[in-house]
């Protein structure tokens, strides 16, 4: 019999979280969360840390409408995990305010002065570079899940007790 294989994904409005069956120890050791659940239950564009290793983070967010503008001293990356999102880029006229040693994304008060560089439209599974010292803003027509690869910064939110399994289900 030949089998037609179906790849199972999830989305902000349809996810099926797994879990942990414990034999011994503490379930919190596994820091178990789900990026779709985080996006479904967080305010738009809150950058929720779902994984951290020293200063490095993976941050999940709910994309909805147009985000603020952000800039970062180092490269970051973003992956679209379910629905379409656009990433818009601006080449800053002035980058002197960016501290090279500052980790993580910085939220700007307004759309920065500079030249519009263009946009990338990401579908499920597409990844985009957020180049260092380049301003970006994300836009989503309807709620979507995104994950950043970045470094812990002022905008990173840690709320482990809210997002992680704390007891066996």
């Amino acid at each position: 019999m030949s089998v037609e294989y179906k790849t199972t994904y999830a989305s902000i409005d349809n996810y099926n979280k797994g879990g942990v069956q414990m034999v011994s120890g503490n379930i919190k050791d596994y820091v178990f969360s789900n990026v779709y659940e985080v996006a479904a239950t967080s305010p738009a564009y809150e950058r929720v840390v779902v994984a951290i290793n020293l200063v490095y983070t993976l941050e999940a967010a709910r994309a909805e409408g147009q985000s603020d503008w952000y800039v970062c001293a180092h490269d970051e990356f973003v992956i679209a995990f379910d629905y379409d999102v656009e990433v818009h880029y601006i080449k800053l006229d002035d980058t002197s305010f960016i501290d090279d040693d500052k980790d993580g994304a910085i939220k700007l008060n307004e759309k920065p002065a500079g030249q519009y560089m263009g946009k990338i439209t990401l579908k499920r599974g597409h990844q985009a570079l957020l180049p260092e010292k380049t301003a970006y803003s994300i836009k989503a027509e309807k709620p979507a899940t995104i994950v950043y690869q970045t470094v812990l910064g002022d905008e990173s939110v840690q709320k482990w007790n809210e997002i992680c399994l704390t007891e066996e289900q």
Partner: protein
Amino acid sequence: MTNLNAMVDNKKTGYQDFTAGSFTFRRDEYFAYVDYPGGEYVMPIDDFLKALMRDIAWGFFYGTVNFDSVLGTTNHYGNVDLFIGSENEEYVNNGKDYKENFPSDELMEIFQAMQSDWTIEGFDPFAAPQETGTAWGPKNGNNDEAISRKRQVAKRMIGIPGDTEVRSDDTGYPVNRHFKDVDQSQPVVEAEPGFEDQIHGFNLWAHLSRSDVTWNPSVVSVCKQSLLCPTSEEYILPVEHGNDRVEWFVQVSDEIIWDIKDGKSSKPRASLVMRAGDVACMPADIRHQGFSPKRSMLIVWENGSPEILDMIKQGNQPRVGVEF
């Protein structure tokens, strides 16, 4: 004393023996035999070659690579222990464990020669069981092409001009049989004139759907020391990976069941069922082995900071990813 070692006749099978310190490795049509001063340890040859392949491909990896509950290697970064029973409570408690330390490149050379001689034509130790021939029988050619695959390592991001290429039909990576339904579109990049080289994206899920190996992460994007290492998984991780540091997983598609045991004693600790979107962290004092019923996509997230090595050497690396 009775010699309990198996009779292996290389004249009949055509294989070679390999020696590392006091260890001698022999194979026949079905099994690998590991002779050491305390006796002889036996493993099925297919399991042995699949585990050996990961140990080679990962350069002894982070921490311990348990070929099974008895045989394995522990990486000390520059030198490496080869052991029988050192991570097995009964062997240790009864003084039956044995290990020897080697310069990493010395043991690596022996392992590579053994992998090359013992892998026969048609057997691909990186492949899923249904995608390869068997490891059994007498010596019959080799599969050096399959076992010498280099894992792709992006410097900044896959697909950026000058960096590692995106997998495609043209570069020799057809879509895997389990991922025929994965969307192959690429992001639409609308760059203003002059900025074409500065904004970049690619389809990571499609890239993963074209992976020709299982349980062998490659690096797709690099943020300082943060390495995004996705991989495609099917059937069983051929080793029990014993962590010396925490290790994060993000399940992208389908499902993996992780069997978690204590790193030292190998007593059972937990079973994690990870589905699409789930994130979990392997503690630094466990060993884990994954079962993937269908080929699935997994992001392994690594931290290459030298600082972690220092912490491991001093024994003060964090045991868990987050304390909360």
